[in-house]
Amino acid sequence: MALVKMTVNGQAVEYDVPDNTLLVSFIRETLELTGTHVGCDTSQCGACVVHVDGQSVKACTMLAAQAAGSEITTIEGIANGDELHPMQKAFHENHGLQCGYCTPGMVMSAIELVEKNKGLTEQQIREGLEGNICRCTGYHNIVKSVQAAAQEMGG
């Protein structure tokens, strides 16, 4: 067992978990934050993307113990109270989601993409989202959403 302490969405958490607990299981099962999803077992689909110290990470590729001491942000933690994050608003406004399953990971990846890269072209957005698979939207409206959010976020 490992004692894992970290900050998740601004709150300090501390749990004893088996050594092999993945960060995604820690988030979903221990913390019951089920907005982070699991869509594959090979770190391809990106449904589990969260931010670890501001960097987007596939939470299925990291042990909870490796994230000890980190600041974690999940999809549940990006809105400011009732005020949605510009990326969330843009996905809603541009119909950037259908079934919603890939959406949390897609939003988390897109936020980091926009925050770290100014003046993104459409092609750069498409390449930047390579690590997230969506089966519903054909990506067209996801790209539009990210473009709209980038405007809003000063990207």
Partner: protein
């Protein structure tokens, strides 16, 4: 419209009501549900394609820490639990019934594909179940795998009930008339068209949480299903053999389906059965590899096509001989998909006087193949649109012009095809014209020449498709072998305060029903959409429903809602007439108000709702109190969306890399309720079709091992595989439903694969390539270019 309802009715791109929970991480999918004291199921699957089971020893596994039970097929059989059934069985051409070998939930005596369920370990944690499963000793006697559908017939026998591996041998159309037409044709174009096997890959893997309430003697199953009522019916009546009322099925938020979540799979049933045996909730969630191995695959047809043309290049006849791979077992729609959803679409958008098709559904040692987005219609469209393009090239005619001269003319509707369907309405030329304009077809030559200067091969490909949505009517499909009705139900419940709950049997798993359905009600009742709740996915709350597939939700489910709303308005008129002391015939309802013609008397919808529940001044002699109406709508015919998609590609001959540089789609879906949602459906369909055409392939090796059982090996389309898409519409309103709607969910997946392949063949025609199979991978294209170049040099 009253204030507050502006731009929320039919035709408005209302932003989706369901979005907020999904973008904030508050969606509730099956795996998000946990029950107190739940146990975890882990299924042991066959790692060989075909074998006799000599012995299964579970003793060591059963003794492992945390293990509560280990079950095999014998335990299931001992309790008399049945397996999944086929929901539609077409009759063989000799009049006999098709073969339906049993599908045990856990294998009995034999395994028939890699992934076949052999046993289940149920433990206090998933880790314990998984660890114990490795202690199970399975003694198998291997048999040869049968993988290739083209050679499956008469190969190693897979089921005792079927000596030739043929489930059915079906035909449609007039064989003699077609032979005569082809015999008398000026030219006969022949082409073999393979529709590759693909895997649906909803991003949410299937999951189930089952529990049993001893006091009520009642089961609850949470499951990632497109049709919870079908799940309840099949599980209660055919598998568990319990009263239907004793099974409560909930399909909460479901992360995509695309057909693969129609079927009732062994896992859900085993968990439900075990929940009672163990008196504890049982949970199972597939991992992605289990999804690849166990979810129903799609397509997998081989077709031999003969198309006859007269001297004016008008089509005189079409013959298609198809072998459809159905896999090791049958599932709900596996027999109807390659028959009545395929053969009936072979006329496409074209006036073809004689058509004949023979389809043989064959058994192989692969997982079952069933309906996948489009279900039979993409397969029909692909073979027809590939052949149309191939023919145009053979006769040296522009492919757009060749299609145009063969279109069913606008004034020929209703049009009776040679393959049973009667198209109620359509107009195909305007969609072709608009798509050509959108992509600037006229100037393609100059773009091609410019690309050639950069060393790139540029090609353009068309696909003019038709589909048939909202399978119906029940009375007709019943005569064709369907074992279910194909109506949809709706309950519209108006509360005393005027808010509304709509209970629909159509399930939403990405399609945006919460918004589209609310728009219908808002439009008809003149109330804001925020006062309308759409309820779906729960068999205890909804009277009945056939679920969501075949682009049926709006055309069938939406029409049922519309009809229930009409009943509410009719009842409201009687109440309003009574309250205003007017003749019912003078009552009008518009914009949320009941008015008496020629007077200024009016009652709001809210006042009438209140009166229905506080019936002090109420026509008790005519009506019962309350304001809730139910409608079951059974359509008169299919609906027939149609259109043209055009794809433009550039190929780098040095690498074989295909770049889709432009896409124009012009579809006729009848009236649109929410154009934003419709466009999203088209985008998603196109992406799935592009995936099949360029990247995706379910590959079993000759031993029956699925080599593409992870996202490392099965190439899903990513954002950078697709361009921005241009979408537009023409409208011919459906003639036989109240809303004039046709359905849009599958069109993109139906239209797109031939558009891509036709564009690639067009691009490669400069080096003499005339055909290309799916998926047209970079390697395949590179080889085709090099082989063609080498041949030309000889």
């Amino acid at each position: 419209m009253p204030e507050g309802t502006m731009n929320q009715g039919i035709g408005a791109s209302v932003r989706r009501k369901e979005d907020k929970k999904f973008i904030t991480g508050k969606g509730r999918y099956t795996d998000d549900i946990n029950r107190n004291g739940q146990l975890y199921a882990y299924f042991i699957r066959s790692d060989v394609a075909h074998a006799n089971i000599k012995n299964i020893n579970v003793n060591a596994a059963a003794k492992c820490e945390g293990v509560v039970a280990v079950y095999t097929g014998e335990d299931i059989a001992a309790d008399g639990i049945g397996g999944p059934i086929c929901g539609w069985t077409p009759t063989n051409r000799d009049g006999s019934a098709p073969k339906e070998p049993p599908h045990p939930l856990l294998a009995v005596g034999k395994v028939r594909y890699v992934g076949d369920h052999i046993a289940v370990v149920i433990a206090e944690s998933l880790e314990a179940a998984q660890a114990a499963s490795e202690k199970i000793v399975i003694d198998l006697d291997n048999l040869p795998a049968v993988v290739d559908p083209a050679t499956a017939i008469g190969n190693t026998q897979i089921h005792d009930e079927m000596d030739d591996n043929v489930y059915f041998d079906w035909e449609l159309g007039d064989e003699t008339a077609t032979a005569d037409a082809l015999g008398g044709a000026d030219k006969v174009i022949e082409l073999t068209v393979t529709n590759n096997r693909v895997i649906p890959n909803a991003i949410e893997p299937r999951a189930a949480v089952a529990e049993y309430d001893e006091i009520e003697d009642r089961y609850t199953l949470y499951t990632s299903s497109q049709n919870p009522h079908l799940t309840r019916l099949v599980m209660a009546a055919f598998m568990m053999q319990i009263p239907e009322s004793k099974l409560h099925v909930v399909a909460p938020d479901v992360g995509g389906g695309f057909g693969s979540k129609i079927y009732i799979y062994p896992e859900e049933a085993v968990c439900t059965w075990a929940a009672k045996k163990l008196r504890k909730p049982v949970k199972w969630t597939a991992d992605r590899t289990q999804a690849f191995l166990g979810d129903a695959h799609g397509r997998d047809h081989v077709n031999k096509v003969k198309l006859g043309l007269d001297k004016n290049n008008k089509i005189v006849g079409l013959r298609v001989d198809t072998i459809a791979n159905l896999g090791a077992y049958l599932s709900a729609f596996s027999m109807v998909t390659p028959t009545y959803l395929h053969g009936t679409l072979l006329s496409g958008c074209y006036d073809i006087p004689a058509i004949y098709t023979n389809v043989k559904g064959v058994c192989t040692t692969t997982v079952n193949v069933d309906a996948y987005r489009g279900a039979g219609r993409p397969e029909a469209t692909y073979l027809l649109e590939r052949t149309m393009d191939y023919a145009a090239r053979q006769i040296g005619m522009d492919p757009a012009e060749f299609r145009r001269i063969n279109f069913i003319p606008k004034d020929a509707f209703p049009y009776q095809t040679a393959v049973a369907l009667q198209y109620d309405i359509g107009d195909y030329e305007p969609a072709l014209d608009k798509a050509m304009e959108m992509i600037d077809y006229a100037n393609f030559g100059s773009r091609q020449a410019e690309a050639a200067k950069r060393g790139k091969y540029r090609g353009i490909g068309l696909s003019s498709y038709i589909e048939a949505c909202g399978i119906a009517p029940s009375a007709v499909v019943g005569t064709l072998g369907a074992r279910v009705g194909l109506y949809e139900s709706a309950v519209v419940r108006v509360d005393p305060t005027g808010t509304i709950s709509v209970f629909t049997g159509a399930h939403s798993h990405g399609q945006g029903h919460d918004t589209t359905f609310a728009q219908i009600v808002a439009d008809k009742l003149g109330v804001p959409i925020d006062s309308i709740d759409i309820v779906h996915g729960d068999t205890d709350r909804i009277p009945f429903g056939m679920g969501t597939y075949g682009s049926r939700s709006l055309a069938v489910g939406g029409t049922a809602i519309s009809k229930a709303v009409d009943k509410v308005i009719e009842k409201g008129k009687i109440i309003a007439a009574h309250m205003m002391e007017a003749a019912e015939t003078d009552l009008e309802f518009k914009d949320g108000k009941f008015t008496v013609a020629g007077t200024d008397k009016e009652k709001s919808f809210g006042e009438i709702a209140l009166s229905a529940y506080v019936p002090h001044n109420f026509p008790h002699d005519r009506l019962e109190p309350g304001l809730e109406e139910t409608a079951f709508y059974d359509p008169l015919n299919f609906t027939y969306p149609a259109g043209t998609h055009i794809c433009e590609v550039e190929i780098d001959p040095a690498t074989g890399v295909v770049d889709i540089v432009d896409w124009a789609a012009c579809d006729d879906f009848g009236n649109l309720i929410n154009p934003m949602i419709v466009e999203g459906q088209v985008h998603g369909g196109i992406a799935q079709g592009v995936g099949q055409a360029l990247l995706e392939n379910a590959h079993y090796n000759e031993d029956g091992q699925l080599l593409t059982a992870s996202y490392m090996d099965y190439c899903m389309p990513r954002a950078d595989n697709l361009p921005s898409l241009k979408i537009d519409y023409t409208v011919t309103a459906c003639t036989h439903n109240d809303l004039g709607v046709k359905g849009c969910g599958e069109a993109g997946a139906i239209a797109s694969p031939p558009a891509v392949i036709n564009a690639i063949v067009d691009a490669l025609s400069v080096v003499g390539v005339t055909d290309m199979s799916m998926p047209a991978t970079t390697e395949k294209i590179w080889r085709a270019i090099n082989d063609a170049t080498a041949k030309a040099a000889e």
